[in-house]
């Protein structure tokens, strides 16, 4: 197993060993005993398992200071989630700022970093949103479901911006091709990505399959989704408007991926405590498809004020972020959340990572229409709360959550969403780097006669990293939606996004962990340049960048240095090329014991074709029996 942040992995759900769940958890046991705000006030000395939840001493102290009391169990769960590396970007924040600072100004950008996904304008009427995200650790634990829910998650990010998702891509990294565990992980991951994407009706237009022993215990499953929206349909997540209704739409909430917070149950209620173990999230692409159609209908009929997907941090994140974004407060009745398992406790409901859910903010007079649309598409929609006023002094409102009349949460939403810890982690160039760099390719023996040249060529084309990827790509639907112009094995995926005008977009994702290991700054720039070239050679004009930064533990100064260099490289490269980073994702703790993966920035570049019929495929097409000249550009 991988060594992880004890509780929260950088990309969400941590699954644990098999366990006997208690199906019929004795409700009587805890209803009376549920940890409330008044009780927390009365019992300041109660011991809380904050360390097991991944919070440091000083972080816990800060929570107590913020609240002027100890947090309730539910609050503690929420802070531990929101202040995790995954949600708070506490180690990466200080570096990622460069993306904004060094970015060329772009009048195309309608939404940037900080939103669910970046949005760029491609014509007067149309905009495109795209983002790449990781689902690495869950895909190691349960390859099929881990990868499937990775696709599901990024699709909801795109949906939340107001866009119809129109294509996906999947940059993948596995351990050695001939390692027995790769035979478990790779087919599962590919079946999961295919199963989810195919069932959603999203063409897969490209990706990567790379093998390297450094990914043996830490395969990388990154997923990219791109969506299209009319410029005036852009949505945002702010829960604006006092009195508006907070609606949860989509699947029921179960104990999916509550991994981390399950310690709360065992720590407090040892009675009959077969521990509720973490459980794997299972995706239901059919529900997600219905969710997409329902949301698009809601947007078109202008029925929602704000919308946010439920991702890794579930309801906690969606409630905190929507309220914080608007500066409002929010009042939530937690028992209204439809549950798959009735015995769930408040902190479990708040932490659950059940898939295929969205949070909507709706004006009261439009609630009925929203519920009807949901019903038409056969998805659940439930009013679970309302937006409350900011404080009279103009200060933000509070997030107040009750559970069967017990007050279980009362916190400032911003303290969860925005005021998490920020670290300037120590950085140091890895000690072995000099040696690695000294071992130069120039010193390798060169094939010097026809036989050894032949042998080298054969060895190269037989290498898994250069071999044909059809076994993977044939499992993906590339035709659905009828707009795929170029896909595997082309350099970029190209799709038509508007049948009338013929506007198209090109997308490529690239990364090279071996380059980045040798020199993270230039390795990152090379990944960016490769994706940029791949887009440009189709005839498209590159306009925006997304990136997924896959690294080892940020607590390792060597890894942190690699990370900082990588970010600097991408930011500088974007500055030089004149295109902005519009969004992305950081995945830390991809590490087995002390051994981190190669630093692996995966960079996606988006380009526009004003007329997609002008795209240039990679095959040479002899025209009219003529003999075209072949030129090599560059050195």
């Amino acid at each position: 197993m991988t060594t992880q942040d004890p509780v929260r992995d950088s990309d969400a759900a941590v699954a644990g060993p098999t366990a006997a769940p208690d199906r019929d958890a004795t409700v009587i046991g805890w209803v009376g005993g549920v940890d409330t705000v008044p009780h927390a006030g009365d019992s300041p000395d109660e011991l809380q398992p904050y360390a097991e939840l991944g919070l440091r001493d000083d972080e816990y102290a800060r929570i107590r200071q913020l609240l002027n009391r100890r947090p309730t169990q539910a609050e503690l769960a929420m802070y531990s989630i929101m202040w995790s590396e995954h949600c708070s970007y506490k180690s990466s924040k200080v570096h990622l700022r460069q993306f904004g600072e060094k970015a060329p100004s772009s009048d195309r950008m309608l939404a940037g970093i900080g939103e669910n996904a970046g949005v760029v304008r491609v014509s007067d009427e149309l905009a495109v949103t795209f983002k790449v995200e990781s689902h690495n650790h869950p895909s190691f634990v349960e390859p099929h479901q881990g990868a499937a829910t990775g696709v599901g998650g990024i699709v909801r990010d795109i949906l939340a911006m107001g866009a119809r998702p129109v294509a996906v891509m999947d940059p993948l990294r596995f351990g050695a091709a001939d390692h027995p565990d790769t035979a478990r992980v790779l087919p599962g991951v590919v079946a999961g990505i295919g199963g989810y994407g195919n069932c959603l009706g999203l063409p897969n237009i490209g990706g990567e399959v790379v093998f390297d022993p450094c990914y043996q215990g830490n395969p990388l499953v990154n997923a990219l989704c791109v969506g299209v929206l009319p410029v005036d349909r852009l949505q945002n997540k702010a829960a604006a408007g006092t009195g508006n209704v907070v609606v949860l739409m989509g699947a029921k909430t179960g104990r999916d991926g509550i991994g981390g917070v399950s310690v709360l149950a065992s720590a407090t209620f040892d009675e009959g405590s077969e521990q509720r173990r973490p459980s794997v999230q299972v995706g239901d692409p059919f529900i997600e498809k219905l969710l997409i159609e329902a949301c698009l209908e809601l947007y078109d009929e202008q029925l929602v004020v704000g919308i946010q997907d439920l991702g890794g941090a579930g309801l906690t994140c969606a409630l905190a972020e929507t309220a914080a974004a608007a500066g409002t407060g929010m009042r939530v009745w937690l028992e209204r959340v439809p549950l798959r398992e009735p015995s769930m406790e408040p902190h479990e409901i708040l932490a659950s990572e059940s898939q295929e859910r969205m949070l909507l903010v709706v004006e009261p007079e439009k609630l009925e229409a929203v519920l009807q649309t949901a019903e038409k598409w056969g998805v659940l929609a439930t009013a679970i709360g309302e937006v409350t006023a900011p404080a009279p002094d103009g200060q933000p409102g509070r997030l107040v959550i009750t559970w069967r009349d017990h007050l279980v949460v009362d916190v400032p939403p911003g303290s969860l969403a925005d005021d998490g810890p920020v670290y300037h982690r120590p950085m140091r160039e890895p000690a072995d780097l000099i040696l690695l760099q000294a071992d130069r390719a120039e010193t390798l023996p060169r094939p010097s006669d026809p036989d050894s040249l032949r042998e080298t060529v054969l060895r190269m084309i037989a290498s898994p990293n250069l071999a044909d990827k059809t076994w993977v790509t044939e499992q993906y639907d590339r035709y659905v939606l009828g707009n795929t112009v170029l896909a595997q094995p082309e350099d970029s995926g190209v799709i038509r996004i508007d049948e009338r005008s013929g506007i198209g977009i090109a997308l490529s994702v690239d990364g090279n962990g071996r380059y980045a290991r040798l020199d993270p700054y230039h390795g990152a720039k090379l990944a960016l340049a490769e994706a940029y070239r791949n887009v440009a050679v189709t005839g498209a004009k590159p306009i925006a960048v997304t990136d997924c930064l896959n690294f080892g533990s940020p607590e390792d100064p060597g890894v942190m240095w690699q990370f900082a260099e990588t970010v600097r490289g991408i930011a500088d490269g974007c500055g030089e090329l004149g295109i902005p980073v519009t969004g992305g994702n950081v995945s830390f703790y991809n590490q087995t014991g002390a051994a981190a993966i190669h630093p692996t920035p995966v960079v996606g570049v988006l380009g526009v074709l004003d007329d997609v019929a002008d795209r240039i495929p990679m095959g040479f097409v002899p025209r009219d029996g003529g003999h075209d000249q072949i030129y090599l550009l560059g050195d």
Partner: protein, 226 residues
């Protein structure tokens, strides 16, 4: 008057928009039909599109068969309404017993998407009269459960009655007797596993061969007295 061809959307239909586009490119007017609405709104023919109706969780097409619109379609098909089931639509037609046999998990157990050569075996149906018997066409195939099976007697009967509409040239999934498409005995209901609606535009398909299926229906409608 242009023919009106209905395209049904079930929850989980995915290629409904593509089927509608293909109908339009073939020169007819696509009419979107909704699974929960039993009315056919006066359409002259119906396409059941590809996708994963109801998630296709139990067996592909097993749940869609019970949609209100299907009751009407089954009755109309028995009266001669041209019906084309593509992929999931084919599966639904089998589950609804408008076509014999069943579509099962691909023998290699994988979803497979590739450009596939088919040989048209019967040009006598409402959906293939634009082709010549023996003609080879190139059309994408994409499915996880496209392996056609039926008992030997049924297969023999299909062969004897000329109801095998198309066969794979290079079987992608283990289908018995390389069957890619079949028809009912009247020739108005056709189920096909590959996707003609994905081969209707130079820009996006491997060929334009798919158009023939849709123009066939128009020709059939013109030639068949109402």
């Amino acid at each position: 008057m242009t023919a009106r061809v209905g395209v049904v959307t079930f929850p989980g239909s995915l290629d409904d928009g593509d089927a509608a586009r293909a109908v339009r490119l073939a020169g007819a007017e696509p009419v979107r039909l909704w699974h929960a609405d039993p009315q056919l709104h006066g359409v002259d023919a119906v396409v059941l599109p590809g996708g994963f109706s109801y998630g296709d969780y139990l067996r592909c097409g097993a749940i869609a068969r019970f949609a209100p619109v299907m009751g009407t379609i089954v009755d109309a098909a028995r009266q001669g309404l041209p019906v084309l089931g593509i992929c999931n639509g084919f599966q639904i037609l089998c589950e609804a017993h408008l076509l014999p046999g069943a579509l099962t998990r691909n023998q290699h157990l994988h979803f497979r998407n590739r450009d596939q050569i088919l040989r048209i075996e019967s040009a006598g149906t409402a959906w293939t009269n634009a082709f010549q018997p023996g003609q080879e066409v190139l059309i994408p195939v994409k499915n996880g459960e496209g392996c056609y099976v039926a008992d030997a007697a049924t297969l023999d009967q299909l062969e004897a009655e000329g109801r095998v509409v198309a066969r794979y040239v290079g079987n992608p999934n283990g289908s018995q007797r390389d069957i890619a498409a079949i028809t009912n005995s009247a020739g108005n209901v056709v189920g096909i596993m590959p996707h003609p609606e994905h081969a209707v535009e130079e820009l996006t398909g491997p060929s334009l061969d798919g158009l023939g299926f849709f123009t066939s229906a128009l020709k059939h409608l013109v030639e068949t007295p109402a």
